[in-house]
Subunit: 239 residues, 2 copies
């Protein structure tokens, strides 16, 4: 599919469009990474000039990138006073997790109606790999697999609009999750919930999967909250 016929009737498989990325596009991606990974601290003014030198570009594309990131909520732009990484407060997180819950619950419900057996098998594979990391107490790998499972369900939902909103929110939350740890009890609970997620998905039980995911996200929120409370607020002081 997606082939094209030229005049003589010969078939030309449509080539991948050459990836020509404009500077501002690239800058948006790079800056987003810097912010998510905490390299740029919240509330610290980052002069445009500094960033320009860092990336070797002029101010014009950089400013375009800043505007985009501000509209995504990662930066705050004060007129005539430049950009700061927006601080993620506890209140922000309290707001974000319920929204994530609603989006993921919808994704789960939609996924149940259209997921293929192959896709379920893939989620199952990811799941068991994740459980393996759990038994080995490998938290970073666990997180990575965890994220991939949620993304796989999101993909199976087949709703690009939903995915976009999910990714936007997930990107902001990830900043917090970078710092968060997990108590043993929470980790046990999360894995149990993932067992239930897999089971509901395999049975294509939309209502149940929706409920579980909503609860799962609420618990994730609690986990992050506990972790931050324990740590002291590292979100503020990360260099």
């Amino acid at each position: 599919m997606n082939d094209v016929r030229n005049r003589e009737g010969g078939v030309l498989t449509k080539a991948q469009p050459i990836a020509r990325v404009t500077l501002h596009e690239e800058l948006v991606a790079r800056l987003r990474d810097l912010i998510v990974e905490g390299e740029l601290a919240p509330d610290v003014r980052v002069p445009e000039r500094t960033l320009c030198e860092r990336f070797g570009v002029s101010r014009t594309p950089l400013r375009e990138a800043l505007k985009v990131l501000a509209s995504e909520g990662l930066l705050d732009l004060l007129p005539n006073r430049g950009a700061t990484v927006s601080r993620l407060t506890q209140a922000d997180l309290d707001e974000m997790f319920p929204v994530m819950g609603a989006l993921e619950a919808l994704a789960g419900e939609l996924a149940c109606t259209r997921i293929t057996d192959e896709q379920i098998a893939e989620v199952r594979a990811l799941h068991y790999q994740m459980v393996l990391h759990y038994t080995r107490k490998e938290l970073p790998q666990y997180f990575r697999l965890n994220q991939r499972i949620h993304e796989a369900i999101m993909d199976a939902a087949g709703n690009a609009t939903l995915t976009r909103m999910y990714q936007g929110l997930a990107g902001r939350i990830r900043r917090a999750r970078y710092l968060a740890n997990m108590s043993k009890a929470r980790w046990d609970q999360a894995v149990e919930e993932h067992e239930a997620i897999l089971s509901a998905l395999a049975q294509r039980d939309a209502a149940r999967l929706g409920r579980i995911l909503k609860q799962h996200l609420q618990n994730k929120g609690e986990t992050v909250k506990e972790s931050l409370a324990a740590d002291g607020d590292r979100l503020s002081r990360t260099a």
Copy 2:
């Protein structure tokens, strides 16, 4: 609250920050209106120069605004080939209404847990005013009140993150609703659903309100779909 004490102990009510709006900010708002109201047709290239002359600004702030609107999904930006208003396809709408349903359902549930009697009274007032317009078959006024009711519930939910995502999606959907009409049966049904919404909200029955709103949005989606099917696809050819 939010007052500030100066050195002598006198109270200074914190004044509204002077609205100094930068050009690109203003441009984002104005362009958004042009797009939502259909003044700029989908898929038509709009050269930057034209817009610059229209607004009397240079290309720099205009381009910053274009990047933001593109990140909101209202524009498509093709490298070296400028901006076009993104076409709202039937498939897009099919994706958007379920997401709206999930967001509004969450808003309803949250609202039930924190809404005050005064806020309920206000929603009730809006509701009866809306019903009045319904009995008089005043569709535009009906739409306006309808929108305000949904926004009032959103406000009552007290979740700024949720509100932002809702507004973003609502802005895009509104483009379609501008053109949509309603059959008598659909209109009757919508008003009935709004009665149920008011009732559930007044009883602060979160679960029920959530279910009703989700269904309500699904029906709205069906209504728009029918309307577009009847009209032929006006979204494509609006001048």
